[in-house]
Symmetry: C3
Subunit: 467 residues, 3 copies
């Protein structure tokens, strides 16, 4: 991701094209440097399009796993996340995350993209300084890729809050998340704030998170958890004995097609985070594919062991868990590390969903488990399987484990604590303020009638008797 | 778009790669020129794929906003638009639009792509003449990108004619639209006909329409209007008092996922219209994203003001209105001009839908408002926010308004009148002929039974009692 | 496809960029060669993403054309095909197909991608040997593109086995198909085994199959046929008089959106099989588009002639038949050959579906006809319309027919026989073993209840009375 100042980035930012043989870099003519720069921008833009489309995937997964009487509301929330996310991130979020004028806590300047060079591609003369690839995105390309990540972060919370949240309250939360809560996390990591300045065990061991298992998914997952707690469970989710009851989703086709769309989008999310077009892109995609497959397969085995049947929604969440898990390490692991990371994530999802349900927290789609639990696992896995070393540029593929070492593992754990604390506190305060002012939850009557009717004035489905 | 002979193109056609520093262009080796040419073709092809996929988005939006008893018919129309559109545009439409052998009214030659160089990429020796980028697409690339636009233009009309049109009559109209009505509009503008020859207030002020707010969407929107008028409203749409009654759509998930797919496709539609891979592509995408977000947000506010509830289908149309609105100016506006264009379009959609409904015209999906009304707005906005000037190549981003000036505004308005007149007359005649010969509308009994049964012999849905 | 050692490849593998003017190749600097290599990898990777997404299309087509009580099972099978396919092809399938250590029958080495260079792009010094483009994919790029083809091959069979297959039995079959049956066919053709060694009528006439009408679709179609035969028809498909009865699909929207997604994915499947970024890519896409349109149009005409109504599902299958048909010849035909190939395929689908149904074989989605029948037609069409000749590099576009000649036709027919025999025997044995051990088909009670309940423990849909 942009301006990566720590391990995951500083190194990834240097294109293999240059790295593989420094001699060739010298041979690069200016003309080739321009063409390569255009290709870098084009690829990151195409990757951004794929991430954009994940919004449709999130909408379908959430719709499929919840009740039919709230389906229009779910669609509305997902459109709103993109509309509000784009406007809020454009106005202030991008500046908070990457603006040059701030300090370790938060960025400044660049409000409304002012001062960003949106059209011009970087000066190829940067080639001479060796920075032309890592600094090679135009302002438009960079914003496009960053803003769709912001929309992803907020949408994660949507699923955990399904079926009982006031639409107006959700819009407020969505704006706050994309304008402030998420951008601060980005500033602390990819934006060169906190981590680069304070939490840095030396170049080789600073926080590493290639595409955002922690920065995007954990942040979204914690916000989801705080939302679910602030709201309380849906009516009927827990019996008078306090035991959870199943509220089945209404359309498994939507859920699974949503999973496929998210999986598709992840081939932009992870490989696009290389922020350049080079040979690393495809190996990141390969790791992403293998981890997702392992996540799906292992979740199927575990859910059969626990319940006797291969629940389809759970397998879908296993695939997503594998994807979230590999998001941090996809640029640093070999294929075996990726396989293992995905497999563990696939098991974690099932246990986490059952654990959270038992604790009285109603997360209708499993968002906390998929993005929170597997997000933590993904961040920590860097300390176990990462292959960053002096030979990193060659990306030596032999052997199973390298391991970032204990130093690496500890800095990863510290950042998990920081992200959880920051998001829990800010989202928690936000939900309390909303609760006290506009109100966070609809009335029991409105909930029973369904949010489609009560909040949007029309049912989501109308099936005629003639059909 | 291809062979842009007026402002929007002549300038856009010159790649920023060259423009940013003419000195580098000199430094370009032939080898780099070839690689750049391949990338230009590859990007425009990928953009064409995205536009192709919009057909699925149109199908879903139309299906979701209409009744379940006509859903198979809607799917059939959308497949047919692509099949017929490809064959008709291949046979004659492309030649009418871009064929070299015609005059100001219509093109000639190139029937069945004969004489087009489908495989070979342009001769890099064109580099020496400074034309290698703008003329850099192979015949196959160019046709692919153009034909999916033609399919879009006709599909727009499908929604306004939903629920009562004979399938055979629709097929006739679809062929006529892609073979003749739309190609003539293209020839007059992007094809170098009418506009280039007659309506040209000088280089700086000739008609500008980067990706087709007027050429594609307004043409489709006017055809939609003529179709809706020729058909008359669906049975039950207007009470005996003449007042409109709501006929709710049957599946909001389809509608919103369709909107997301269209939004996705627009990242090919607009940025692909640069017809080259350069730094402008991503800024066009940024403008597209911001306008759509503004359109969705403003439509939500306006619909709440008018009805008290955030109707989800209307917000979806607000997003689409913002997209249609920015389609003309996405290559010429800065981000603030784009924001404003999208915002105005979002409001226009709501008022236009209500106005058209009140006038007794039954447009089940709001196609006339989204594509017609916002198409006009997009074309006119060029006269307000366009930043084309001597410094254009540098794409100065400072300040809010530049404005194309009154000359520019007037030429834009003239072209709106021409497009509306041409399409209204030709589509109007076509619908009358169809009405008098094969018939345009199904019988009331067939309409009541649903087109799925009466026209296709099988219902679109079969839900079993066991489920 | 990779390491194409026969006509379709040896020639296609040489980029037009080089071919158009060998003089320019000399002028290529090393820098440009690197940038071109990155672009080759990037394009093939993007094409692979599109093919990946076809899995969602297959899922939707199959779901739409079958009964609602089996819809969760269908979704589960399609997720499983991707998860199992990736893991099995990663473990052994890729090695069997392309591993260097085997003989004419099967490949070896490369287990778990060991020894493959996943990150590094090929050495541009290959440029000097003239092989840099055709050998220009990294191990990661190549595996990614190959594995999504493997997943496609197995998923084809899923549809023919819908509604009565044990989930565990299907998983076994899926693993066997992606680990062994399909990889062997690939090894014999694209992998340099059997065909390259034995069945070779000389360079100009060896087996040609650009993207796999035979290698992928026929293999999948024959497996589908064997599965349908081994299972027997669904309860109620044939009356006591032995005559087939219609079991209508439950959701035409899913079917048609699935067709659009598959059509979209085919723009990766076919043009990506060029395995390089050059001017051939877009002409392959053009041929693909035209054949699909012709297939859809002709199938509509034929189905109206046979039944009186334009059945929408059949038109969708006509489009898919056109796509399967052109998959072998898309790199070798001109536009007229493509049009004709698609048109014939569109008619074949309808007749084949009716024929197979009459023969007592229950293929709920028409997979055998679409992929098997049209796959055979596509392979044979190479002998009729292929334009491979000495002037091939120039891809002369004039005239309608060239024809591969009788030699070409006979080698194509021999390979059809080989693929059919291999797949029928191996899949047939596999199904018999499964039948005798774990069992292949669910009990009549489970079938009546629906696989969603009996195999996965939950219905796929839950529509509430409040809606």
């Amino acid at each position: 991701m942009k301006r990566k100042l720590f391990t995951g980035m500083g190194i990834a930012g240097v294109s293999l094209v240059l790295a593989a043989s420094p001699a060739w870099a010298q041979g690069n003519t200016e003309a080739s440097a321009i063409v390569q720069t255009v290709m870098d921008n084009l690829w990151v833009f195409i990757a951004g399009i794929l991430v954009f489309f994940m919004q449709a995937g999130f909408a379908l997964v959430e719709a499929g796993l919840t009740r039919s009487k709230n389906v229009a509301n779910i669609m509305a929330k997902n459109i709103a996340d993109m509309c509000i996310g784009v406007l809020a991130f454009f106005a202030v979020g991008y500046a908070f995350a990457y603006g040059s004028g701030g300090g370790w806590f938060i960025g400044g300047n660049s409000w409304f993209l002012s001062g960003e060079s949106l059209f011009a591609l970087p000066d190829p003369e940067l080639l001479e300084t060796g920075e032309w690839v890592s600094g090679g995105l135009s302002g438009a390309t960079d914003f496009f890729f960053q803003v769709v990540f912001a929309a992803t972060a907020v949408t994660i919370a949507s699923g955990a809050m399904a079926g009982r949240t006031k639409f107006s309250a959700y819009l407020l939360f969505s704006a706050l998340m994309t304008a402030f809560i998420y951008p601060v996390v980005v500033h602390w990591t990819w934006g060169g704030g906190l981590i680069a300045e304070f939490i840095n065990w030396g170049d080789a061991d600073s926080y590493s998170d290639f595409a955002g298992s922690g920065i995007v998914h954990l942040t979204g997952g914690v916000a989801a958890l705080m939302g679910a707690i602030a709201l309380g469970p849906r009516i009927g989710k827990y019996g008078s004995d306090g035991k959870p009851r199943a509220i089945p989703g209404h359309n498994i086709v939507f859920t699974v097609i949503g999973v496929f769309i998210l999986w598709l989008g992840w081939f932009g999310f992870n490989p696009g985070s290389e922020l350049a077009a080079d040979g690393v892109v495809m190996s990141v995609a390969l790791n992403t594919l293998i981890a997702a497959a392992a996540g799906g397969a292992v979740s199927a085995v575990v859910v059969v062991m626990k319940t006797g049947k291969p629940d389809v929604g759970m397998v879908g969440n296993g695939v997503l868990g594998g994807l979230v898990g590999i998001t941090a390490g996809c640029g640093a692991f070999n294929t075996f590390g990726s396989l293992l990371t995905g497999a563990v994530a696939g098991a974690l999802v099932v246990y986490s969903v059952l654990f959270i349900e038992k604790k009285g927290i109603d997360d209708p789609v499993g968002a906390v488990s998929v993005h929170g639990t597997c997000g933590i696992w993904g961040v920590l896995a860097i300390g176990l399987f990462s292959r960053y070393d002096d030979a990193f540029l060659g990306r030596d593929d032999a052997g199973l484990f390298y391991g970032g070492g204990l130093d690496q593992l500890s800095v990863q754990a510290v950042m998990v604590v920081i992200i959880v604390a920051w998001t829990a506190i800010t989202a928690g305060i936000a939900f309390q303020i909303i609760k006290k002012t506009t109100g966070l939850r609809v009335s029991p009557e409105e909930e029973a009638a369904g949010l489609d009717i009560s909040e949007h004035g029309a049912a989501g489905y109308h099936l005629e008797t003639t059909n």
